[in-house]
Symmetry: C2
Subunit: 295 residues, 2 copies
C-alpha cells in the first residue's frame, strides 16, 4: 500500500523486543518503504534479516540512519546519549529522531545536545512490553490498544509531531502528550515501582533455604507467579531505568514502605477492620483497569 | 457414571468461588451421587440452585451435612471453627470433614475440637483461585494442574485419606501431603506475602493525588495491572488469612523489607552492577515457574 506509506526509510536502533515489534507492526500496516536496523549484537542482526524484519542490518548506528526519514531508538536508556552521539553526524535534515525509553528527563538530557539543527527530536515511550527480549520476542500487536506517550520539547515542529503521532496510531496505539517530568513521575508509580517490588519479592524467595526455594516455584499459583513475570524483565534495561529515574522511584518506594509498615502493624495487632477496609478499597481499582481495557 | 461415584452425598459449606468450582468439577467427573450446599448468603443459595450446581441449598450447615459422606468447608477461615461447631452434631459416623483454607494451623486449632469421634477430619488446601468471588465465578477446571495440599493429623484414617486424595486427583489436581506448620510457612511466601504486597502497592497508588490516580489506571499496562488482580481478591478471606498466619507473614514481610531497603540503597548510590546482578538472578525463577507448568 504505497499510498499509505508514512516514511520512505525507517531506521530502528536496537532490534530487540520493542524494535522488532515496531518492524513487524510497520510492515503489517505498510508504514515504511524500507526498514533498516542497527544492533551491536551480531546474532540479533542475523536473526532480524532471517525473520525478514529489515532490509538491512548494521553494526553501526551511523550507517543505519543515513537514508532515514525517521530514527527510532529502541536501546536501553543508559546508552541513548552515546548512540545519539554516534549517529548524529549521519542524520539527514528534516529527519525525525524519537526513542522508546521508560524515563524521559534523562534521555532528553543525554540525547538533545547531540541532535543537529534541522532534525526533529521528539522523545517518546510506548507503554507496552513483555518480559521477553530479543528479535524473536517481538510481535505486531504489542502496541495495539496501548498508550504511547510523547513528551515533545517546547520548539517541536508541529508537522513532525503529527507524523509521529500518526505512526503510533496506525499501529493501534492511543497517543498522549505529556511533560517529561510528569511522565517520569507517573511511570515511577505505574511501572518502575511494580518492577522494583517484583524483583525484590522474587529475590527474597531466592535467598530462602534450598527446600523452600523449590516449594516457592511448585506452589507459585497461589500468587507468587504473578510477580515472576515482571522479575524476568531485561536486567540491563531495568538497571538503567532505576538509576535514571532514581528520585521519583525512591520517593514512591518510600511511600510504599510506609503503607506496608501500617499494614504490618495492623496484622501484628490483629486489626481486622482496618485490613478489611484497605482490601475493600483496593478491589475497586481492578474494575478501573478492566474498564480502561488495560488488563 | 455411577460406577465411578466416590461419594453418595457431598456437602459444600460455602458456595462461592471454591465451593461452586468444586460442585462443577465433581459433576463433570461424576464424583458424587448428590451435591448439597449451605451458605449464609440467600442470593448465593438461589444462584447455586439456578445454575444447577447443587440439588439442595440450606442456610444451616447442620441441615446440609445430615446425609453427607464428605463435608467440605469453603468459607473464610475466620469462621471455620464456628461453622464446624454448628454442623458437628449432625455429622454421620464415618463421614470425612475437610476444608480449603489457606492457613492450616489455626483451622486445625479451631475445627478439630468440634469433630465427633468416628468422623475423619483431614485439613486441606487447593493452591488455586482467582480474584473473583461468588457462585458465578467458579469453573470446573479451576483445580486442573494445580497442587492440592493435605495436612493430615497423626491419627488420620488411611482409607479416608486415600478417598480424599482420589477426589482431588480426579478433578485434575496433584496432591501433596505436608505438615501444617510447614504449609503455613510455604504459603506465607508463595501466596500471603504476594497478596499483602499487591494490596499495599494498589493502596499506595490510591492515596495519590486525584490526577495521578486516574493516570495510574490509564498506564497500568506498564506493570501495575499485574498487582491489581491479586489486590481485587476477597477482603474477608484475606483479612482472616493475614490474622491467622500473622507470625509467618510478618517474618517473611520483614525479610522483604530488608531486601527492598538494600535495593533502594543501591539505586540511591547508583550501584548499577549490584542491580544487574539481582535482576539477572531473578530472571531464572520465571523459567522454573514455566517449566513447573504453574504459569
Amino acid at each position: 500500500m504505497p499510498s499509505n506509506k508514512l516514511f520512505n526509510t525507517v531506521a530502528l536502533i536496537g532490534i530487540g523486543l520493542i524494535g522488532s515489534s515496531l518492524a513487524r507492526a510497520m510492515k503489517q500496516q505498510g508504514l515504511a518503504g524500507k526498514i533498516v536496523c542497527a544492533d551491536t549484537n551480531a546474532n540479533h542482526r542475523a536473526r532480524a534479516l532471517e525473520l525478514g524484519l529489515v532490509e538491512a542490518a548494521y553494526a553501526s548506528p551511523a550507517e543505519a540512519v543515513k537514508e532515514a526519514d525517521i530514527v527510532i531508538l529502541c536501546v536501553p536508556i543508559g546508552v541513548c546519549g552515546e548512540v545519539t552521539q554516534q549517529l548524529a553526524p549521519a542524520l539527514r535534515p528534516g529527519c525525525i529522531v524519537t526513542d522508546t525509553g521508560s524515563v524521559k528527563q534523562t534521555t532528553i538530557r543525554d540525547m538533545a545536545p547531540h541532535i543537529p539543527a534541522g532534525v526533529h527530536f521528539i522523545p517518546g515511550h510506548p507503554i507496552a512490553g513483555t518480559e521477553n527480549s530479543g528479535p524473536d520476542a517481538g510481535f505486531a500487536e504489542l502496541f495495539t490498544g496501548r498508550w504511547s506517550i510523547l513528551t515533545p520539547l517546547p520548539d517541536t515542529d508541529a508537522n513532525a509531531l503529527s507524523r509521529l503521532k500518526e505512526m503510533w496510531e496506525r499501529m493501534g496505539s492511543k497517543v498522549e502528550l505529556m511533560d517529561a517530568a510528569h511522565h517520569d513521575r507517573v511511570l515511577a508509580i505505574t511501572s518502575h515501582l511494580p518492577h522494583l517490588i517484583a524483583y525484590t519479592i522474587v529475590d527474597t524467595a531466592m535467598t530462602l533455604e534450598g527446600d523452600l526455594q523449590a516449594e516457592v516455584i511448585k506452589y507459585s499459583a497461589g500468587g507468587f507467579r504473578d510477580f515472576t513475570r515482571l522479575a524476568a524483565s531485561d536486567p540491563t534495561m531495568w538497571r538503567d531505568i532505576f538509576i535514571a529515574n532514581r528520585e521519583a522511584v525512591l520517593d514512591i518506594a518510600q511511600r510504599l514502605t510506609e503503607d506496608l509498615t501500617e499494614l504490618q502493624k495492623a496484622i501484628r495487632r490483629g486489626e481486622g477492620d482496618k485490613l478489611f477496609e484497605v482490601f475493600t478499597r483496593t478491589r475497586a481499582i481492578r474494575r478501573g483497569v478492566i474498564s480502561a481495557k488495560q488488563e
